[in-house]
């Protein structure tokens, strides 16, 4: 994953960049399987690697597929990234280690969901029961976001605007 991300930063051919981004998403999905998040891996593979790549390729078809070599220096962004990264690494020193069962996130509502999923909802897949039942409003809001984004895309690219342009 790190290698793909680095390659994306270096390449100037946008087709290659978009395909690499797809590979990156797929690798992320593999990582989610390793980390026990099968539902997330499923979504990432379908949505991240699939739909995003198709959308980006469609955009490339409508625009240009080569990036121009930038004129200004890259030292400042590199320095900013380096400093931010170093600060973040310093921050991780206090975090619980990977897979530690006594870590703080595992002592809040997580175990509660695991214990009550079957009696409350009868769904063995806890991710599903939390998504659709305990946090149903969240999912409803998410649907609204997608709807808004869809409306936005249609308004931006819709054919009615082209007709107006033709008339003018």
């Amino acid at each position: 994953m790190a290698l793909t991300a680095y390659a994306v930063a270096r390449l100037h051919n946008l087709y290659a960049v978009v395909m690499l981004a797809g590979i990156y998403s797929l690798l992320a999905a593999v990582m989610f399987v390793v980390l026990d998040a099968v539902d997330v891996a499923f979504t990432e593979a379908a949505v991240g690697a699939g739909i995003s790549t198709v959308l980006a390729l469609g955009t490339l078809a409508l625009t240009k597929s080569r990036e121009k070599t930038p004129r200004h220096t890259r030292i400042l962004p590199l320095a900013v990234c380096g400093i931010t990264g170093a600060a973040l690494v310093y921050g991780t020193l206090d975090l619980e280690h990977y897979g530690d069962p006594s870590a703080a996130p595992h002592h809040h509502v997580g175990p509660e969901y695991l214990a009550r999923s079957i009696p409350d909802t009868g769904v063995p897949n806890v991710v599903t029961s939390v998504l659709a039942s305990y946090r149903g409003y969240d999912t409803l809001g998410e649907t609204t976001v997608i709807f808004t984004a869809g409306v936005g895309v249609v308004l931006l690219l819709g054919s009615w605007r082209r007709k107006e342009d033709d008339d003018a």
Binding site: A21, Y98, G99, P105, L114, E142
Partner: protein, 122 residues
């Protein structure tokens, strides 16, 4: 010494995440091409997803699908949050790409600095 190795192994995942995050950040900040900026944004986003899922992992646990044979599960809450985030992320990407298409129609370019120089011309 074994303490040090333990620390490095325990935090290794976070460091990978931070590297990816900074890659994405760098692409967004340093590149002028709008499509590349969006790809960078996606990389940043995916790194945050990996970070959350890492928080949810419990060693020796399985995926949070209840069954007779298992007793230790990974934390389902981060999974749910990230499921929502992935879908919202695609929605924003789609909107961003649509904007790029419109910008290309209006300016004939998708390079940030060229758009600015066109705007500066009277």
């Amino acid at each position: 010494m074994s303490d040090l190795i333990n620390t490095v192994l325990g935090l290794y995942n976070y460091w990978i995440v931070i590297f990816l995050m900074m890659c994405g950040f760098y692409i967004v900040v340093a590149h002028d091409n709008l499509i590349k900026k969006l790809v960078g944004l996606n990389i940043f986003q995916a790194s945050v997803f990996v970070l959350y899922i890492t928080f949810g992992k419990v060693s020796g646990g399985t995926a949070p699908i209840l069954g007779e044979a298992f007793h230790v599960y990974s934390n389902p809450l981060p999974h749910v949050l990230i499921l929502t985030a992935i879908v919202v992320g695609v929605a924003t990407t789609a909107l961003g790409l649509a904007l790029v298409v419109r910008i290309n129609e209006a300016y004939g370019t998708i390079e940030d600095d060229e758009i600015h120089s066109q705007d500066d011309e009277p």
